[in-house]
Symmetry: C2
DNA sequence: GCGGCCGGTGACCCGCCGGTAACATCCTCC
DNA sequence: GGAGGATGTTACCGGCGGGTCACCGGCCGC
């Protein structure tokens, strides 16, 4: 009963520029996450998007720039989550719980995009290194500010402590992800935030903060 | 006054096989550390050793194998340091201090070889990933054993806690290295081991261990 | 209904780099 | 003092993959 027009369902009908760009980013992310930067070929990405290679170059100047666009997204994603966790409360115990949770959520996000940030195989590229470092420093800074404010630590000490705590969160989140299934998220987050909190609370001297279980 | 024999001081006189092999490993490590696996060319390594490329292939079957040999050295180096720190005392506070110190020393070793382990850009290679993971797990395991023994934690909890502590040590060590000069090693290690110890001591329930300042 | 243009394609180019083949040199040992 | 086997060298190959060129086709406005 329908018109029997041939229209043989092109694998991916033509897309307006904006939509195509998003689809390409999606495809590129999947490939980069799965294989890393070096093992990912532009042909792979184009194939994954059901499109030919020149289309990629109509939207991005090169492989590296495509990668950088995705990386920046994820770096921003993580730093936002961490900053929100730190700014969202005045209770330091909650801050720790929230920040640890932020790392767990980031790592657990659909698609494994965290790999771009934590397992990039292009860190020898100056721009990539700068981007990743900037994200790291932003997270450390957010934590260090509170530490410096609430303890007698020097800025150098506060930053070192903060880097340790972010490392604790990142590493345990990744461990939990790898062992997924053995511990529910909430239990893992609670466990690790307890560890972090017991460590950092009442450091050198706190300005009046109850200890916690 | 000397004999005017031409003998134009060969850049590197011939070497017996064993010595050459060591020299090549050294040169390769320098190049891999400086540029990572992908950006390092076999020609670079050969040049660095003052030798031509085929010599490399007389000693190693390929670039990947050369890299793996170096990587394994460093993985072993780290796990040995950590295991020694855990086995070298019965005092858990000392264990924490020693283990944190192990990470700091590893990261601070001449040549920056730690990058092979912590910043490898070949983790998408199965064998590389397996090697790095094995090292990580060995460190986590060494720490988790003590935690599981001295607290009421389940094995899963103990391993998660241990992974967090190793992450704390690794990340803070690398931060300290990057900021080198602002804090002396002993102060940094003491600070971070205090943080870790305050966190982990008296976890769920310890079997009788004094808290520490 | 047709010209232009936007979105898309197949085929190609070429530089880099891992890996090798063929040849040179020197040291040893008899 | 010369055969033989290490040790090294020069010159080359081949393919992988990033990046581009010339071309196609259908839809839109006149």
């Amino acid at each position: 009963m329908q018109s029997s027009r041939p229209v043989p369902v092109r694998r991916t009908s033509r897309l307006p520029r904006g939509a195509r760009r998003l689809q390409l980013l999606q495809a590129a992310q999947e490939v980069f996450v799965a294989h890393g930067f070096h093992a990912a070929a532009m042909d792979d990405i184009a194939d994954r998007a059901g499109v030919s290679k020149p289309v990629l170059y109509q939207h991005f100047p090169g492989k590296r720039e495509l990668y950088l666009a995705l990386l920046e997204q994820q770096v921003t994603e993580l730093t936002d989550r961490v900053r929100e966790a730190m700014a969202g409360t005045q209770d330091n115990r909650d801050r720790v719980h929230g920040a640890v949770g932020a790392y767990f959520d980031f790592v657990d996000a659909e698609g494994g995009a965290y790999r771009l940030v934590f397992e990039s195989d292009l860190r020898n590229d100056d721009e990539v290194r700068a981007l990743v470092d900037r994200g790291n420093r932003a997270c450390v800074e957010a934590v260090a500010e509170v530490i410096a404010g609430d303890t007698g630590s020097s800025p150098e000490q506060a930053h070192l402590l903060a880097s340790g705590l972010t490392g604790l969160a990142e590493t345990s989140a990744r461990w939990w992800l790898a062992q997924k299934g053995t511990l529910p998220r909430e239990e893992a987050v609670s466990l690790m935030s307890s560890l972090a909190w017991r460590g950092i609370s009442r450091f050198p001297r706190v300005e009046g903060e109850p200890a916690t279980g």
